[in-house]
């Protein structure tokens, strides 16, 4: 038998460098960003990069936290925990008001400043006593995209929803349908998160509904497999394809003329600005007087250079 204390010591020694490394970052303020995204969602990499950059530039300590499976009840616990660890501020998404309002309000009341990013709405942010909301109103973005597609002659569509348990995702599809002036009905499919499943479901839908005019993907998770699906069925470039968010493959798709446009909500700003705003607020007491809309911006084949360079990293 290996004596107990030796085992404990071994574990302790093994763990020490990493703990020390993260504690020895900056001496400044500490901010924690909590997202609702499961580990599998690659889009949030931009957010991680952005807060790391903001932390470096402002000389503050930043941390990124998320529930591994995207379970919002677990996210509520993470917010409670973040508040208990006594940071200067918390930047959080508000994916479900019912679940997250309690923990966020408790954090605000216990003296931690909060900024709502990405999901949620300006009204909800104000109700919870958050400093501001930084993000892209989901329904409005979907609506704008729908109107744009309608002008381009689209009358029916397929919404590939890879995150159906988040209300924000469905709102994008609903907004798009309303923008087109059609009923959403069965045009939204629950694609799941697995690439080959998404590809197959898109192909299945398009072959059983051959008169579909357009495809709307809600992010790289569903857009990348959809690109493949269109390639394999020979519909690439023929069918009207728009997507939310950007990524390397989406940018390539826009360049190739397969994707009409990508809606950039500029996640970089959603993570970067709250850190900058809060740091300046805590250091000098200055605070912008309004919410910040980080999007929507339509990225088309024009002016792709900068986007291409930083896609998946800062864009």
């Amino acid at each position: 038998m290996i004596p107990m204390h030796k085992l404990v010591l071994a574990a302790t020694v093994a763990a020490t460098p990493l703990i020390a490394a993260s504690a020895a970052q900056a001496e400044g303020e500490k901010y924690i960003l909590v997202s609702h995204a499961p580990d599998s969602d690659s889009w949030w990499n931009t957010v991680k990069n952005a807060i790391a950059l903001a932390g470096e530039q402002m000389d503050v300590e930043v941390e990124y936290r998320n529930p591994p499976t995207g379970d919002l009840a677990d996210m509520a616990r993470i917010i409670e925990q973040a508040a208990a660890s006594g940071p200067d501020g918390i930047i959080t998404t508000l994916a479900d008001y019912d679940v997250l309002s309690g923990p966020i309000r408790s954090a605000v009341d216990s003296g931690v400043d909060v900024i709502i990013m990405n999901s949620g709405s300006p009204d909800q942010a104000r109700e919870l006593g958050a400093l501001m909301y930084v993000g892209q109103p989901e329904y409005d973005a979907g609506l704008a995209a729908g109107q744009r597609a309608k002008d381009d002659g689209v009358a029916s569509f397929l919404c590939v929803n890879h995150y159906i348990s988040s209300p924000a995702s469905s709102e994008r599809c609903q907004g798009f349908a309303d923008g087109l002036g059609v009923d959403l009905g069965e045009q939204m499919i629950d694609s799941g998160q697995d690439p080959s499943e998404i590809k197959n479901r898109v192909q299945a839908y398009l072959s059983s509904n051959p008169d579909t005019d357009a495809v709307l993907a809600l992010g790289p998770t569903s857009a990348n497999p959809t690109l493949q699906a269109l390639d394999e069925t020979g519909l690439a470039g023929d069918i009207y394809f728009g997507t939310f968010d950007l990524g390397a493959e989406i940018v390539q798709g826009i360049k190739d003329g397969v994707i009409e446009w990508g809606i950039d909500q500029q996640p970089f700003l959603q993570a970067y600005l709250p850190v900058v705003v809060m740091t300046n607020y805590h250091r000098y007491g200055v605070l912008p007087g309004n919410n910040i809309n980080s999007g929507p911006g339509f990225v088309t084949a024009d002016a792709l250079e900068m986007v291409e360079e930083f896609a998946g990293e800062y864009r």
Binding site: A15, S22, D109, G111
Partner: protein, 372 residues
């Protein structure tokens, strides 16, 4: 049984020293692990907020959540079966409470009772299929993992056109049964501690001056209650012996008159019951049911049980051990955050520490019991 006359010196009635009797308990590994984990975080995360009132409440609640499902999973595992549908059952049960109580507008206590009846029946169906077909419970409950998750997404999508149903807190206002799941106890005591300056109070807002922790959530009460009931059932009753027998060697148990099928089905029902308790506490606390609730919770329950010293093959284990396993898992999971571990390495650490806990536990058990 204790006063069997010792005509022939039998191995089964051999005198065991009190010292060895104390050490041979299956919980010992769990106890050692718990102590080790607290020492570890005491050293690395002591002044990080982990041990202030909010911090303690945070890991206690998370541990209590694991405990509730671990008790069911533990008894089922001792009876020789698995339930992989626990996580889906949590999502499903929460959604049913929301659909009955909010969409259909039933009184909340009826919604909760009907949900319990429905979910326990599904548990019974799980068990019935397993004992009738002789298929591994692994496969049968894996099927239910998909079936229940599918309904949890389909039903609210069809009825309400969304995957999260809110408004449960409002619908449950003043309901006697709902308070049993979502309320807190000991408010007066915590208010007193807040006033006495023993725990922090809110600095601003409508709750200024009130303690940041305003009571013990019913979730924790349920967890401790279930652990107690499970422990007594397993160690102090005839039924408890049947559970061990059914999981140890089902054929031998059958031959000696143990109703193995009934025991197993009952344990499947109990597991479903625990999952429903988890779901009821969750929807009452958060006020909404979502299609993504409970993902992967079945594995968390199994991990807690195995850390607590139960054998995956059945026939050996303890509810107290599983409860300690849940505590270890909860404290490690939340504690790593307080210790400031880099978030992408967080799961690496979690895995390493869990593996370490199980190995340590198994080691200790082998040494003290001299088995295998």
């Amino acid at each position: 049984m204790a006063d069997t006359p010792q005509l022939v010196m039998d191995e089964r009635v051999k005198q065991i020293s009190p010292m060895r009797r104390a050490l041979i308990r299956p919980e010992l590994g769990g106890i050692v692990g718990t102590v080790a984990v607290f020492i570890f975080f005491g050293l690395f995360a002591f002044d990080s907020g982990m041990f202030n009132s909010q911090g303690i409440m945070n890991w206690s609640v998370v541990s209590a959540q694991f405990m509730i499902i671990a008790v069911g999973a533990c008894l089922l595992m001792i009876a020789g079966e698995f339930d992989l549908s626990v996580g889906s059952m949590i999502g499903f049960a929460g959604m049913m409470i929301a659909i009955f109580g909010v969409t259909l507008g039933w009184p909340m206590w009826i919604a909760i009772l009907v949900t319990f009846a429905l979910c326990v029946s599904i548990g019974a169906l799980n068990g019935f299929i397993v004992v009738r077909t002789g298929l591994p419970s692994f496969i049968v409950t894996l099927a239910f993992l998909f079936i229940l998750r599918g309904f949890t997404i389909f039903l609210p999508q069809t009825i309400e056109r969304k995957t999260i149903i809110g408004g449960i807190r409002e619908a449950a206002e003043g309901d006697w049964l709902a308070n049993l799941f979502g309320g807190t106890i000991g408010k007066g005591f915590f208010t007193w501690m807040g006033e006495a300056g023993m725990i922090a109070t809110f600095e601003r807002g409508t709750r200024e001056g009130q303690p940041v922790v305003d009571g013990i959530p019913m979730l924790i009460v349920w967890a401790l209650g279930l652990v107690l009931v499970g422990h007594v059932l397993l160690t102090r009753t005839r039924f408890g012996n049947w559970i061990f027998a059914a999981g140890g060697d089902a054929e031998a148990a059958r031959n000696s008159g143990v109703p193995v099928n009934r025991v197993k089905i009952t344990m499947f029902m109990f597991t479903a019951f625990c999952a429903t308790v988890f779901a009821a506490c969750q929807v009452m606390e958060f006020g909404s049911a979502g299609a993504d609730r409970g993902l992967l919770k079945e594995f968390e329950a199994i991990i807690a049980v195995v850390i607590g010293g139960a054998l995956l093959t059945g026939g050996y284990g303890s509810v107290i051990g599983a409860a300690l396993g849940a505590l270890i898992f909860g404290v490690v999971q939340q504690g790593l955050f307080f210790a400031g571990v880099e978030s992408s390495l967080f799961r690496v650490f979690l895995g390493v520490i869990l593996l370490f806990a199980v190995i340590l536990n198994t080691y200790i058990r082998r040494i003290i019991t001299g088995e295998r």
